[in-house]
């Protein structure tokens, strides 16, 4: 199995993408709602990623 090095951003981005796809599929009943909710989850993940990232950056000074 090849080894892989990911940055924090790459790892969190991929995690968000895959988790959002699954959450979108399993939670809603129509394809339109699935697409909407999956996108919503992805945006929330990325918002948390950048938001918490900046909080840590500012907290460190």
């Amino acid at each position: 199995m090849p080894k892989m090095n990911l940055s924090h951003f790459e790892a969190a981005f991929l995690f968000s993408l895959f988790a959002s796809v699954v959450l979108g599929i399993v939670t809603k009943k129509t394809d339109r709602d699935r697409l909407y909710y999956g996108s919503y989850c992805f945006v929330c993940f990325l918002g948390a990623l950048f938001g918490i990232g900046w909080v840590m950056r500012l907290g460190h000074g």
Binding site: M1, A11, L14, F15, V22, V26, K29
Partner: protein, 140 residues
């Protein structure tokens, strides 16, 4: 005059032969339950997402949890993590069959890998629940 309370009826549990197959296949192969229930689009998306997440966990050398007792926190983390890993089905079984073993190492990449492995299993549990609901005709 007494009024009769109207509470919504709980949906009845469907017979086991209706849902056991899709749920079991969904455990072994992520998205397999959806394929069995003729939802190939959703099954393919689940298969690709969960498998890629698991493979990323392996490639970043994430740790597989083993059942281990100790204090409460150690027990919860190790048993919970083991259940999460095991929920990936064939992916976990094949990785263990080929002797995948990675000690818990310091470092962000390994830590992400461990989370990827557990999360792949947890997402597969969600996919199995979805397959159950489709088999029980609670969902299309």
């Amino acid at each position: 005059m007494a009024t009769k309370e109207t509470t919504p009826d709980k949906p009845k549990m469907p017979p086991i032969n209706v849902w056991a197959g899709p749920v079991l296949v969904g455990w072994i192969v992520p998205g397999g339950g959806h394929f069995l229930l003729k939802r190939p689009g959703r099954g393919a998306l689940l298969l690709v997402s969960i498998t890629l997440m698991f493979l990323l966990g392996l490639m970043t050398r994430g740790m597989m949890f083993t059942p281990q007792s100790g204090d409460l926190l150690t027990t919860v983390i190790n048993y919970g993590g083991f259940i999460g890993d095991l929920a990936s089905g064939a992916l976990y079984l094949v990785a263990m069959m080929f002797g995948y073993s990675q000690p818990d190492m310091a470092g962000a990449v390994h830590d992400y890998g461990t989370k990827f492995l557990v999360t792949a299993g947890l997402l597969n549990i969600l996919a199995m629940v979805d397959a159950y609901e489709i088999a029980a005709e609670r969902k299309s």
